[in-house]
Symmetry: C4
Subunit: 324 residues, 4 copies
């Protein structure tokens, strides 16, 4: 029986992934391992598609601080030039004997104005210079508000700290076989109302054309009230499962990809956080059973969760022969 | 068969638009193309209906900064006047030889106080002037907090960056005809839990009176887990569809308007964003099929989405003859 | 037939109001007209029940600014005292010739430090005074952060700007009678996903005891996608309605109160806002029909909503004789 | 009949607690009385599992301010050292006659720079010192933004202020027995859309192994529109209840634990707040009835809630003999 026939004998597609079915026109996996969509964008101007806010929230810290430092330097260079243009004699308290020295004094006067430190050993005296200084301090207040807002935004941004097991296991379950993966929150452990959606994506030949098929996988428990320990997600392979009767080769040849989406309420942020990942067919293990991740503390009064064991499993025999 | 009879043979109205049915009393389309309601308000005082917060969040950037600059200037003018009133001699370090020059010195001293730069080459010396300066710096801190808060609020405000196709197409679909439009997120591509509601609004004659009728349109897929690529929304015209058996003329004469409402969770903001638009009957295309918007990257490892193609379609023949 | 028998012939109570049924132990109406619960709290310490955050967000503006000004003054008085205690000679640049004058100079030096203006014509010179000044500027930065945060919090706090009609009307509706009230958003008109819950509360005699009964009222339309115009809420009085067969006297003698709860998503705040109100039996009008609140603009291109008409209605005859 | 048999005669487990069933591997109760999970974490680096944000939001206030003060001191020490390294002669206005005195002058100059007070009686004069000062003021602005952001974040963090009754009562209810506990909001009384989930956790022997069993308890009313008064939660013990036919000894020997989870929308924060607690079998009272917590005010116009009575109950006889 062909892969297509096997699939069509199952429940129909329930595609809520947001991906289309035209397989020929897409390349590579759907989601990268880190959960970002594997997709580029074109036909739109850089200015329109570029989000300063998103970028400043997501760039690495050292880049963020470099950008701020450069901005600080550039604005000071600009204003130093303007002060020199108006005339260094309008800055009282200057001691520089050459134009270059005076330029640097103007530069540091600008820095003191922009940051509103304003020591005052150098001070503006003429109308124009005073105006420039008044505007510069306004610019300083506004631009530092943006910079510090973004910094705090980065610091306080809701983010899911979730680790996923390295593999998806085909494990024995209640006399049959189930597909299992697990996850653990490793930083914030006050997550509530957690919900996982799992979708199987496959590329199958249909009427001589490669089309994407998506199947939402029913999970034994897909919602929990509190996510504090590890959570093992279980999809039972029964007659209505898209995995039913599919061999390893079927899954690999159809570039099967298991798309995972998690949403939970994080009490630290008082907000929802989301997390995504995907497993490719090469990451499926046939005949594995996750090792228990927790054990009682020495005084038997608490439970200890060992994150090191997240991806560890024992080799086991599957009841179903088709994965041999 | 009259338009009213055709419609009444369909499912009953499901009006959740928030608009009433008294057609005679409303004018023009329901929503403007940019998604704002086409409505004015009267009978309420400006003060009561005016929201400073909303206005400052939504005005154009140049207006926003002009307002702040004007406010800065006005407050400084006011305080300069007060300092002069108390007596310029209570400002130590002044060098101005005329009242006007002293006024400007007081003005810039005010600016240095308001922005808390405080160079100190001019400084308050009497009781009253000291009081004024202390209060001015307090006002400065508080009002700059508002200004910078609003600026950052503008910068970080959750906003849906969605482009819609220019037209709604009547396209062949599974042997019949379907109504289709599509959309694409062009800035933030980490939207999840996206949901679209589409409503058909029509103005029909009933008992000699023009009344508004609203029909919620069932969509093939109205919710998706992730909105990263383009999304084509499909309403099948079957016997229960309000479009069933309606001719072009029916739709135009009844000022048919397709109201679109999108809601999605944007991970950048950790918040929901909403977007609206509407299509008038003149924007319906009979016999069109959207061109595919994506293709594999050169290395076949990614999918590339071409936003330029959003509104492009191929002319096709419709199976249904009534739109000829 | 007694009131109790009439009610018991209806659907059973569906009490989701959070109020108990022991009527003897509660006093007055459930909700005040402005939507706040009509309830006091005792048996708990002031410190524990007092929320600074809530108070500072909700107090009138003039109180808020008075509190901040007083705080500013008090901290400066305190630090002025400390500077004097350490010794006025440790503040360089002082010109005061008496202790009182020096105290005020220290007071204003403190203000310049707290607000980080720091002119510098007066400056700390000894170890202790320097320490005090360094700590004061730290305190200034932290406490102004709280003050400005609260101010911006007040400014940007999500709030529902909703006006309700003054009365609830018993109006003719589809051959029978319906209970109607209406509301209008008057400041922000970008509300979506609006939902109203209406509950009828009554105090009835049961086995010689007065008990509270609560009935959730089914509404013709209780959810709308967008709340931009006025919204008339309609509860039809059919056989399953708690109003069925109740006379005016029944409603007044049982202190009937109609509790209204509205929830909507406000795009300005990117957040949900809630609003409450209640109508007492004395605010019920028997035989009224709301006037239309909107009309086309002069150019017929927009719809104009006239908020003045919100509570206006025409006297009409009710089909049902029991309210005569 | 054994405990296991009794339970298996009930409805099957509905485990949404996020806890596993391997009882041998967990220690102690599931949740602590204050609602935090009774669990430790290992096998993960401190850096990876430590959340600065979460910690700074949750530490006690005196620790928070100590950390900030220490940080302020340390940064100033560091920069004082740097200024001395470059040379004290590059700080104009210094009066110190010994290296130590000059160090402290540099220290306080640093404090004035970091806090942007900048009196200016000491000021940077050389290139390097000017650079250091410019960078220090930048660091000051950025780090104070974090500090004040966190302080305001602590201040404004959504938090549920809920008190729970000390005990869970087995009380007579409609001819049978019900399990009851109650709660009261004691600070913010503008909570809406409140929802409680109660789960009974038990450790029972099954095939010679101790396993965790979880039962979601149906509640008479589990959702209310407004939480302003006290709220008594009621679970009726009928044939489908896991409590049915269980004796005191059954509950104690199986370490029965009642897990409570509350979620509500707090209008003060415009956000959801959550609260958790748990009752151990030793906290169950057999034959108790909560005293009424509210009474009318003296003028009969308001209702007064007495929080002192939250945990008080009257001893009563249970109809069911099994708890004797």
């Amino acid at each position: 029986m062909s892969l297509l026939k096997k699939l069509n004998a199952r429940a129909t597609d329930t595609n809520q992934t947001g991906f289309g079915t035209n397989s020929e026109y897409s390349g590579g996996r759907f989601y990268n391992k880190n959960g970002s969509p594997n997709m580029g964008l074109k036909g739109i101007g850089l200015l329109e598609s570029f989000s300063i806010y998103n970028t400043m929230l997501k760039v690495k810290s050292w880049k963020f601080f470099t950008i701020i430092l450069c901005f600080y330097g550039l604005v000071n260079l600009l204003f130093a030039g303007l002060y020199m243009l108006v005339g260094a004699e309008h800055l009282g308290g200057m001691e520089g004997t050459s134009d270059l020295k005076r330029f640097w004094e103007a530069f540091f006067f600008s820095a003191q104005t922009l940051s509103t430190v304003g020591y005052g050993h150098i001070y503006p005296s003429g109308m124009l210079t005073n105006c420039l200084a008044a505007i510069e301090s306004l610019i300083g207040l506004l631009s530092f508000a943006l910079a510090t807002g973004m910094m705090y935004g980065r610091f306080s941004q809701p983010k899911a700290y979730i680790k996923y097991s390295a593999n998806t296991l085909f494990a024995p379950f209640k006399g049959g076989t189930a597909v299992m993966f697990r996850l653990v929150p490793y930083k914030h452990r006050n997550l509530s109302d957690a919900e996982v959606k799992a979708t199987l994506a496959m590329k199958v030949m249909e009427d001589g054309q490669r089309v994407n098929r998506f199947f939402t996988l029913p999970l034994e428990i897909s919602k929990i009230n509190a996510l504090t320990l590890s959570w093992t997600l279980v999809h039972v392979i029964n007659e209505t499962s898209p995995f039913y009767n599919l061999t390893r080769e079927d899954l690999i040849s159809s570039s099967a990809e298991l798309l995972i989406f998690l949403k939970a309420y994080d009490e630290t942020y008082s907000n929802f956080v989301v997390s995504r990942t995907s497993y490719e067919a090469s990451e499926f293990i046939y005949g594995g059973k996750f090792k228990l991740m927790y054990h009682p503390s020495d005084d038997k009064e608490h439970t200890i969760l060992d994150v090191n064991l997240l991806s560890q499993y024992d080799k086991v025999q599957l009841p179903d022969g088709i994965y041999a």
